[in-house]
Symmetry: C2
């Protein structure tokens, strides 16, 4: 799915995939920035803990967001497709100006929320200005095409990644999380080479891409975002490789982006924090 | 050191870094190609086992090369700097048409051979047409600047690699071995970003770069060579990064090259096996 259409004159909200394991206590730069973006004391944040199977996940984030100054923070305990139709929850999403999806298992997110009014409400709200953040599984689910699995390692291969449809808040990118920590370059290379339409974003733990309505992202947090831009890919042996065979990919572009650096998803231009004058 | 000068009209020998753990028994494509390149039954191969501290390393390779059809294969047990002056060994190197340096510890190679007549003889012989192959530590030592160590992981950082001077058979490249197996992208990115003059070659196990006298390499073996070309690097925060801080690198080029693919070290052009017509 493509992102829902914005109404004329209304700016889409930020989409904020986080690579997992973001700091919540000592130096919570990512979550603080999210709360501030949502208006600080005017922030009305709704938490969707569906990916997690731990009951405390949602309430814990309520505590964190309130401590960081949010006006309100409410977790919606959506654990079944039936609950993903509850009008009470829908109404809370519609009134929120920030939505946060927790980590856990991204296939829980896609199987429980996919095609429900809650998923539609998240898409519609974002199009109307609500900021949507998600960490780990909550980040994975954001694009049109979600990485559902794949082996560790540096090398791409023919069975290097599995996809599932995501919520479709953003397109033109493939996301991976826990990126350097779980050694996932190979599956991101596999994913982007399957169809070089996408930029691949490998997001480290405690690192986030704040993707603005102009489709430019800024890196926030302590790690890197590894960007694979396959738009100039001049040769790929992916289609002819047999199982386990090494794959040739020629002319991929690679950016390593630390805090403050930017990447424009439309133009595929990367910019350092301190732009040269 | 730069490669020794070739005599007018004489073509330099191949330089063949191997990423370690090359097949010796079931499907020894790399070692077979080396033996064939040296002339098969006319091949006179000298083995330098200095990197290894195992007595059987040299004799084992004698057996392998003879089984693969080499005319002769002799291991020179050079374990001290004194032995690296022996005229008998020098004369054997001068008569060889193939030199093979085994794996082990590359700092043994550089500390024992560095500055000795043996090192000079290897350089001079290569310039005069002798092919020089080396695996693991024996590959590491080949360039002017040798990677001596560095942490595992995907991300470059300010302390991401340590260098030592190598034998200088090739320049304009930095080599790393056991590349995907030991998760070494970060240190190759660190190395190439320190000075973007170099192309970085990350050579997998059971994979070799056959670098011809025209400075074009062909990939042979079962894995990949990961090529980092930093020549278009437009921004690097490496010089200002503090210890452990994430580093921004913008506009690196990345090629994943499987068997048959080529890379020209001078022009930095990568070519697939099946060139498009």
């Amino acid at each position: 799915m493509c992102p829902a259409k914005t109404t004329s004159g209304v700016e889409r909200g930020f989409v904020i995939p986080i690579g997992g394991a973001e700091e919540r206590d000592s130096n919570p730069v990512i979550l603080q920035r999210f709360v501030d973006l949502c208006g600080g004391s005017a922030a009305k944040i709704v938490i969707i803990p569906t990916a997690s199977q731990l009951e405390e996940t949602g309430p814990n984030y309520e505590t964190v967001f309130l401590r960081l100054g949010a006006g309100s923070a409410v977790s919606l305990p959506i654990n079944t497709r039936e609950q993903a139709n509850e009008s009470e929850y829908l109404s809370q999403i519609e009134q929120a100006n920030g939505i946060f999806m927790t980590g856990g298992n991204q296939l829980r997110l896609s199987t429980i929320l996919g095609g429900t009014p809650i998923a539609q409400a998240i898409r519609r709200s974002n199009a109307q200005g609500t900021h949507v953040a998600g960490t780990s599984a909550g980040a994975a689910i954001m694009p049109e095409h979600m990485i559902a699995g794949g082996p560790k390692g540096l090398l791409p291969n023919e069975q290097g990644v599995t996809f599932a449809p995501g919520v479709g808040l953003i397109n033109k990118v493939i996301l991976d999380q826990h990126f350097s920590q779980r050694n996932r370059l190979g599956r991101l290379l596999s994913a982007t080479s399957y169809n070089p339409f996408f930029s691949g974003l490998g997001i480290d733990e405690n690192t986030a891409a704040f993707i603005g309505p102009d489709n430019e992202l800024e890196v926030v947090g302590g790690g890197c975002i590894t960007v694979i831009d396959p738009s100039k890919l001049s040769h790929s042996s992916m289609a002819s490789a047999s199982r386990g065979e090494a794959v040739t990919l020629i002319n991929m572009k690679l950016h390593m982006l630390a805090a403050g650096a930017r990447y424009n998803i439309d133009t595929r231009q990367a910019t350092p924090m301190d732009k040269p004058s």
